[in-house]
């Protein structure tokens, strides 16, 4: 029920975005009945509430939905299946009592500071955006510098425009989507500037969000200085060399009153850090085993808090599994231990989960370090798969069947992406 919060649950989910809602449903699927979702915003739905563009659900629903539509489907299912969802509530911490129960500390307007007891917790806090400090752009500190997601919230939820003339730094999908959104609202977009020699967004977004509107995309270029005392007045941009160093000789100024930063997302790891979870330095999220359990028993993680996803469909898939495993843990069902370490090899930035068991099939998510076309994805000596194309911006997913693992007696499995020539020879 919406707004209800009891003192005891089987599973408590932290965060009511697509990951949290799917985790709650997954937990019910595993046979538990008392599930709570704690959400700090006034309603569930997560970041999708502000992603009003279409492009969600092609894998999960075989239908192209907007963010709010996708979110609402899950909110309705959670309501129908009697999940308790409390909005305006923030999880401030987690502890374990003497009988092994998890104690979740929740701060909310209605309930004050309360403690909820449960057997398993799923972390689904999503991610946050990298800010100016993270890329250290020199210059002044005027109003008019927004992360793209904040601008998206201001435009799509609150109904205000960030300015009249914007420069966008970073060509990830959020930046591209915001470029179009601003143009449609009559804000001019002077250009999108990208440090890398290629766009970090989907081709489709480059074409439909920039090309359609005549917005220039400057690759291998970055913002090197911000000007303006009270409000942004201009930015200096400069081309960069292969190592990413800007060349001040070739720089130029772009007048604008707004700078949108679309320079990356990082898992929201405050809670994970304060719990002392083992973290993966590459993903920024917790390390997890094949049941998506973190290093703290009974604490699971999924969605953007685990690693930043580009497609919400995979968030849903991952979270359904995390919820199911959390539910099983709450019911004290035991699974065989993981015996295999999964490690990233050539051209693989990271892969998840960090360990595998040999008794069942596993879904593996990974990201490439660079663009390779075509290449072979090699999982130890168990499996080889030819891929036409990989880019860092798009997550690769792969299922390994138990038949393959049953006969695998080593304790370490390495994943490589090996570039091949056009005929498929490595």
């Amino acid at each position: 029920m919406f707004g209800r919060m009891n003192r005891r649950y089987d599973v408590v989910v932290v965060g009511g975005g697509p990951a949290g809602l799917a985790a709650a449903l997954g937990a019910l699927d595993s046979g538990v009945s008392r599930v709570l979702v704690v959400e700090r915003e006034p309603e569930a739905g997560g970041i999708l509430r502000q992603c009003i563009h279409a492009g969600f659900g092609l894998h999960h629903f075989r239908e192209e939905l907007t963010g709010p539509e996708y979110a609402e489907r899950f909110v309705l299912q959670a309501m129908d299946r009697d999940v308790d969802v409390v909005p305006h509530a923030y999880v401030t911490g987690l502890a374990v009592d003497s009988s092994g129960h998890r104690l979740v500390r929740v701060l909310s307007e209605r309930g004050g500071l309360s403690t909820v007891e449960c057997r398993a917790v799923v972390l689904a806090m999503g991610c946050r955006e990298r800010t100016r400090g993270a890329v250290r752009i020199p210059g002044t500190r005027p109003a008019g510098i927004f992360t793209a997601g904040l601008a998206q919230k201001l435009v799509n939820l609150d109904g205000y425009l960030p300015g009249r003339r914007a420069v966008i730094l970073g060509s990830g999908d959020i930046g591209l989507i915001m470029a179009r959104r601003l143009m449609l609202e009559g804000v001019s977009v002077a250009g999108v500037y990208e440090l890398m020699p290629y766009s970090n967004g989907l081709t489709r977004n480059v074409v439909q969000c920039l090309d359609d509107f005549g917005i220039p995309l400057h690759l291998s270029t970055t913002v090197t200085r911000i000007h303006g005392r009270d409000r942004v007045e201009a930015v200096t941009v400069a081309p960069v060399d292969e190592t990413g160093r800007p060349d001040p000789e070739k720089s130029w100024d772009v007048p604008c009153d707004t700078l949108l930063l679309s320079i990356g997302l990082i898992p929201e790891n405050e809670l994970s850090e304060s719990l002392g979870l083992a973290l993966d330095v590459v993903t920024g999220g917790p390390k997890v085993d094949s049941t998506l359990a973190t290093s703290l028993p009974g604490v699971f993680a999924c969605g953007n808090v685990l690693h930043v996803h580009d497609l919400v469909d995979f968030v849903t898939e991952e979270a359904l599994r995390a919820g199911r495993f959390a539910g099983e843990h709450a019911r004290q069902l035991r699974r065989p231990r993981d015996t295999i370490q999964l490690v990233p090899g050539a051209n693989v930035r990271y892969c998840l989960p960090h360990t595998l068991s040999t008794d069942r099939s596993h879904t593996i998510y990974m990201r490439a370090k660079t663009r390779l076309a075509p290449c072979v994805l090699r999982v130890g000596n168990l499996l080889e798969k030819r891929l036409r194309f990989v880019v860092p911006a798009e997550m690769i997913h792969l299922t390994i069947q138990p038949e393959l693992l049953e006969r695998f007696y080593e304790d370490r499995l390495q994943i490589d992406l090996v570039p091949v020539d056009g005929k498929g020879a490595p």
Binding site: E109, L150, Y160
Partner: protein, 511 residues
């Protein structure tokens, strides 16, 4: 309420003292004067007090052993330092005596530390101790192992300087000082019959408002003090801004050092330091570079390289990639090199100029000193018996224990509504900040820390804007970052109008 001094001593309706500039110095003077039966006004250019150099410095209450003996600043620094425990109890700003270490990396530097210790003791700096390398490593294990020893000064501390200035101004206001914001002093004329006529411009000046008339003027205009003095020809000095860049690092580095870490100073500067701020973050800086512009305070690539190169010599594990925010401030370096405090060649016009570092530390002592000088010049100092030295300290939810938090939420449910997730700031605290004078996003940020954490406002900005709009009774788009010109958003155009029709937010003037 007000005693007979409501009208000026010569029977004309005028102020006893006008303080020009609402930095920490102007605010400290305002509070000090409010102890007496006087009518005072403070004029400040920005939308809130403390928005000049006062909010962009290292936030250190220096012990005093580092400043040249025999200077006015050296004297007021040691005196000022000793006043902070009481001030903290009265005004509730963030302040902690964490102590400071001046570290040496060779014998020559060790020798200059010994001299510094002797000088400091002569000035009355308490508790100075020499530490050998072993002691240093035990107490601060993350410092470079090449360091050979340190001078420890226990009385040094860290402070949230903006909170100090806000509380001083609030206390002064409470005791009857008028605080006029967005008032830029544009002209000062001698008043026939004595005193001055001060004309201000700016969005906070109501149309047709008469100029301020005052018997005494105290010029505490920071880097602009020479320009303000020049308005009446009291400028027998000049100010050169010296920019200092500072870099704020992620909270996860908390505890890497527990005391202030200084290199051995050079004649030009105290060097680049590692500062464990009151709020538990680590800050590194500042640089020191002269510039002409008195408003533009950019950070630079060279500045950041200089800072990190310097601090990594002291503490190798400090990583530039942990930076979450950076800023720069301007020191008001006077042509004399020392503080310039006292009557000018224009009778009744007092300069408090050249207040560079350690101006923050010295500020309460400066205020006492200026008050004495004004008294000597004829300002009647009749103490009020209803002076209220305290203001209510902020709730600081994030620093409370579980039980204290429970009590707060039980008493006020808005403590249960989170506004800033990085720094755990609640809606009740934002309301409290507005009650205490916040009018802008930065005003809320510097009072509550909402937006200062690692997400730098990504989460809280629109919530805080919403609350400010409600409380100030202005539309959402009229909320500013820090006053006129720093508009945040534009309304979507009303149906049928193009983007040209949009008007930017009018300044939200002081209520």
């Amino acid at each position: 309420m007000r005693p007979a001094t409501d009208t000026g001593r010569d029977g004309v309706d005028m102020y006893d003292v006008a303080i020009l500039g609402g930095g920490v110095v102007g605010c400290a003077i305002a509070r000090e004067l409010s102890r007496y039966h006087l009518r005072c006004v403070l004029l400040e250019r920005f939308a809130e007090v403390g928005f000049g150099t006062t909010k962009t410095n290292s936030g250190i209450i220096h012990a005093g052993q580092q400043t040249m003996p025999g200077t006015l600043k050296g004297l007021l620094e040691v005196r000022g330092n000793a006043m902070f425990d009481r001030l903290q109890r009265e005004l509730g700003f963030g302040f902690r005596r964490c102590g400071e270490l001046v570290v040496a990396s060779n014998d020559e530097e060790l020798a200059s530390l010994a001299k510094m210790k002797a000088d400091g003791e002569a000035k009355g700096v308490p508790g100075l101790e020499m530490w050998d390398a072993a002691r240093l490593r035990r107490e601060e294990p993350n410092l470079s192992h090449h360091l050979t020893g340190a001078l420890f000064a226990p009385s040094a501390g860290v402070i949230n300087p903006y909170e100090f200035a806000f509380a001083l101004a609030e206390c002064a206001l409470r005791n009857g000082v008028e605080v006029r914001l967005e008032h830029e002093v544009a002209a000062i004329a001698p008043r026939p019959g004595g005193g001055f006529v001060i004309t201000s411009t700016g969005p906070g000046v109501p149309a047709g408002a008469p100029p301020v008339e005052a018997r005494f003027v105290v010029n505490a205009a920071g880097v602009h003090a020479d320009q303000v003095a020049a308005l009446v020809g009291a400028d027998d000095f000049s100010i050169r801004p010296r920019r200092g860049e500072e870099y704020m690092l992620d909270r996860r580095l908390e505890g890497i050092v527990t005391r202030l870490i200084f290199p051995v100073p050079t004649p030009a500067s105290k060097g680049i330091l590692i500062i464990p701020t009151y709020d538990g973050t680590i800050m590194v800086g500042p640089t020191a570079h002269d510039q002409d512009d008195r408003f533009d305070v950019p950070t630079t690539v060279e500045g950041s390289e200089e800072v990190f190169a310097a601090v990594r010599r002291l503490c190798p594990s400090l990583d530039p990639r942990a930076t979450i925010a950076e800023f720069a401030g301007l020191r008001a370096v006077s042509s004399s090199g020392d503080f310039i405090i006292g009557p000018s060649r224009v009778p009744g016009f007092f300069n408090v100029a050249g207040i560079q570092s350690p101006g923050l530390t010295a500020s309460p002592a400066i205020a006492v000193h200026v008050t004495e000088l004004l008294g000597r010049a004829g300002l009647p100092l009749v103490a009020r018996d209803d002076f209220e030295p305290s203001v209510a300290p902020p709730a600081r939810f994030a620093q409370r224990t579980h039980e204290e938090r429970q009590a707060l939420v039980a008493a006020q449910p808005l403590f249960g509504r989170l506004v800033c997730r990085c720094e755990l700031v609640t809606e009740a605290e934002v309301h409290e900040a507005v009650d205490h004078g916040a009018r802008t996003l930065d005003g809320v940020k510097f009072r509550t820390r909402a937006g200062m954490g690692r997400c730098q406002g990504g989460f809280c900005t629109s919530r805080v804007m919403r609350i400010l709009a409600d409380r100030l009774g202005v539309p959402f788009h009229e909320v500013t970052k820090r006053g006129a010109g720093s508009w945040m958003v534009l309304p979507m155009e009303p149906a049928g109008e193009g983007p040209e029709a949009r008007k930017e937010g009018a300044p939200c003037s002081d209520a």
